[in-house]
């Protein structure tokens, strides 16, 4: 633990903060108390410790304030107890009260306000930041219209199991609020629009109620399964003096909750099945929440010499490890354990979309009789309306609980369950998998070599030219919006949790750009180099986040996968046309009408430059790609964002 901060009291009665190197007031001392900064006050004359008497002065001054403390200032005190570093937000009148307090009373630190140009960007920045750092951010939104803008990002955070603290301004007093615009922007219950995809919401009616609810919402959001939470902040509450209930206000202390674990008896039963299986397979999606989760999965997999299929909504398992195998290994499995799968049914079943009205065929991907085990914290958090719970899958052993928290007991149970007679067979199984892994890598590289010199530039070339320029950095691939055939996960060596941050969760397009900026913000403070593969359609949902990155000096290398279309839709309309035996009408473009982003081609590099980015493009010749990315990397290393606009193959 570091030494306490020394505050010196000089003979002229002024206080001097030796860390901040400035004179401070009793209000500043109070701030140190609120921020839980350990300090001592020393009398400069005789070096006596006078901390106690100074604290008494702080209390006395507090009690004799001429005006009652403002509720919003108290709210800022509450917020500051939770170590929330940033607050990306688009400004709005409905939260002007707390906005003013945060930047003036709160001195715009912990949290620091970051100016956003769209609420969808604000929430997605919080989303990306959490996955890079493991720390939640908060955002403020305009009650009705701002929250309406934010909803897609909230849904993404919900589906991706990421905590985001959202506060929305709302003026509920219909008799006193301003008519016209502020009344258009008010509602009885602003939270209703996100209630189906937030873990909890509240509308506090007093300062103390706010304190309890804010700490509660933070705790709920950060207890696995994580998720976004919502609070409506009444305009009156933000501007009123604190109401006197005859009791002093207090801020409940936050203690992190222990994550829920799988039932121990079920863990033992699962371990027995795994230990005695001939071909066990581990399938993981959001199983690892931290690097420790990755390390535990390696332990479990090695213990069983079982292949691991990483579905990739997080970096769960190193792709350099020989037990990392593609999804098709489940076809031979006799036991499958799925951990935090977002779609268990879709893992073990196939759906062939070959009808012309959206009907298709279901097929099983596994052998009859394969035993299925599940550990999933999301089983504890199912809501009704939105269908993110996916198609129902029967499993033999189901453990509602957090995978990472359950892994230590599962590992111990497997160790106990593996009999000596099984050890040779298990080791032999590993040898076979090692060979398959090596063969798979050769085949992957051969696939990457095809169309290597093509124009438009192949996605394999795009990813490998990028990797060549960043491989010596402490890199973090913050997002791959669009679809680049998974080349990064197939060929970039990924071993650390932060090297791959997964995807949007809800597949709402528009996540990539803002989530990348949010993750890059977190990585900036942790000394990492952030790189994103940025698709064209995704960027255009809310490109103003480019300005936010430049304004707040967030270094990020964005390499564009510019395939000039909403490509998923390009293919859907083509397929519909073919199934109906009709020629797809492509108008003057390359793809069915309504799906292209061309004529005119968007000059993304010019767009980025206009918002303060270094940018280059359009790159059409693969020979120009490496040098352009190299230049961009140099810029990013000076602390600025840089974008390279690359015209690519579709996928």
């Amino acid at each position: 633990m570091s030494d306490p901060r020394v505050i010196k009291k000089y003979p002229n009665r002024r206080l001097y903060d030796t860390v901040e190197s400035r004179y401070i007031t009793l209000a500043d001392v109070r701030r140190l108390v609120v921020e839980k900064i350990d300090f001592v006050v020393v009398d400069k004359k005789n070096n006596a410790d006078i901390t106690r008497s100074i604290l008494l002065q702080v209390i006395a001054e507090q009690e004799h304030l001429p005006e009652p403390m403002l509720t919003q200032d108290f709210m800022v005190d509450v917020i500051k107890t939770l170590d929330i570093k940033y607050l990306p937000a688009n400004p709005a009148s409905s939260y002007r009260g707390i906005h003013e307090s945060l930047i003036n009373y709160g001195k715009n630190t912990m949290p620091e306000f970051l100016t956003c140009m769209h609420e969808e960007s604000s929430v997605a920045m919080c989303h990306g930041y959490f996955k890079a750092t493991g720390k939640p951010l908060m955002t403020l939104v305009h009650g009705v219209v701002g929250l309406q803008h934010a909803t897609m990002s909230v849904y993404n955070a919900w589906c991706d199991r990421v905590p985001v603290i959202i506060l929305g301004g709302n003026d509920m007093d219909a008799a006193h609020r301003a008519p016209g615009v502020p009344t258009f922007h008010s509602a009885q219950d602003i939270n209703a629009i996100v209630r189906d995809y937030t873990k909890w919401d509240d509308t506090p009616v007093s300062a103390q109620h706010f304190a309890e609810s804010f700490v509660r919402m933070y705790k709920i959001a950060t207890t696995p399964p994580y998720g976004p939470v919502m609070m409506s902040l009444d305009g009156g509450l933000q501007t009123d003096p604190v109401r006197d209930f005859g009791q002093p206000l207090y801020i409940p202390k936050f203690f992190a909750a222990a994550p829920p674990q799988g039932d121990l008896a079920a863990v033992k039963e699962a371990a027995k099945l795994l230990a005695n299986a001939e071909r066990p397979v581990i399938v993981v999606d959001r199983a690892a929440r931290t690097q420790n989760g990755v390390d535990l999965l390696v332990q479990l997999a090695e213990l069983l010499q079982a292949p691991v299929v990483d579905q990739g909504n997080r970096m769960n398992f190193p792709n350099t490890h020989y037990l990392n195998r593609p999804a098709n290994v489940i076809s031979q499995a006799d036991v499958i354990i799925g951990m935090e799968l977002s779609d268990y049914w879709g893992t073990v079943n196939g759906f062939l979309d070959n009808g012309n009205n959206g009907f298709g065929q279901n097929t099983s991907k596994i052998k009859p009789g394969t035993k299925l085990i599940s550990i999933s914290s999301v089983d504890l958090l199912t809501k009704s309306n939105y269908q993110d719970f996916q198609q129902f899958q029967s499993v033999d052993i189901s453990m509602p609980g957090d995978a990472e928290a359950t892994l230590p007991s599962l590992i111990e149970a497997v160790k106990s369950a593996v009999g000596n007679d099984r050890k040779d067979a298990i080791a032999k199984r590993g040898d076979g998998i090692r060979q398959a892994h090596a063969k798979g890598l050769v085949a992957t590289k051969e696939a990457a070599a095809i169309a290597w010199d093509a124009q438009p530039i192949s996605t394999a070339r795009l990813l490998m030219e990028t990797y060549a320029q960043i491989k010596d950095e402490n890199w973090s691939l913050v997002s791959t919006a669009g679809n680049t055939s998974n080349w990064a996960n197939r060929l970039w060596p990924m071993e650390k949790y932060y090297q791959w941050l997964g995807a949007s969760g809800g597949y709402g397009v528009g996540y990539g750009a803002p989530a990348s900026v949010g993750a890059a913000l977190g990585n900036r403070d942790l000394g990492r180099f952030s790189v994103s593969i940025q698709s064209d359609g995704d960027l255009m949902y809310a490109p103003g986040v480019l300005w936010t990155a430049a304004r707040h000096k967030i270094p990020l290398l964005a390499v564009m996968h510019n395939n000039r279309g909403y490509h998923q839709e390009v293919m859907h309309i083509q397929r519909m046309s073919n199934f109906r035996n009709r020629v797809a009408n492509i108008g003057n473009d390359l793809a069915p009408i309504g799906t292209s982003i061309m004529n005119p081609d968007i000059q993304y590099h010019e767009l980025a430059k206009s918002m303060g980015w270094w940018a280059k493009g359009p790159i059409t010749d693969p020979a120009d790609l490496g040098p352009a990315i190299k230049e961009a990397v140099a810029v990013v290393k000076t602390g600025q964002p840089a974008l390279v606009n690359v015209v690519t193959q579709p996928r």
């Binding site: 050769v442 590289k445 051969e446 696939a447 070339r461 998974n486 390009v570 397929r575 009709r582």
Partner: protein, 132 residues
Amino acid sequence: MRFSSSRSSRSMKLRLAALTVAAAASFAAANIAVAADADKGKIAFTKNGCWQCHGFEGQGSEATSNGRVIARTQLPLDAFKAFVRTTNGAMPPFRPAVLSDDDLDNIYAYLQSRPRPKAASDIPLLNNTRTQ
């Protein structure tokens, strides 16, 4: 390369021409014939949306064609055409009302005209990555 036993003289001509070009570009007449067909094939490949899932070079993609490479396909022309006409899987069928036989022949020629890929071992960027 395997050949099916039943094939039209036109497809034979195309295939032989493609092979000739691949093997030795000195046959000027064959070269011109194939270049014309392959060029038309490129236009048809683009206009009819084949590139959407298979890439402009027929290189395939993990997400859309399950990695299937159709550039320089080993499938004989007849089998290739039969598949395109009748597929009812993730790939939709392209029936004659949508894509003519001539276009399909030309597309085949275009795919056969794609350059042989470099060996992965000859591409430094593919050897400067994960090794395990």
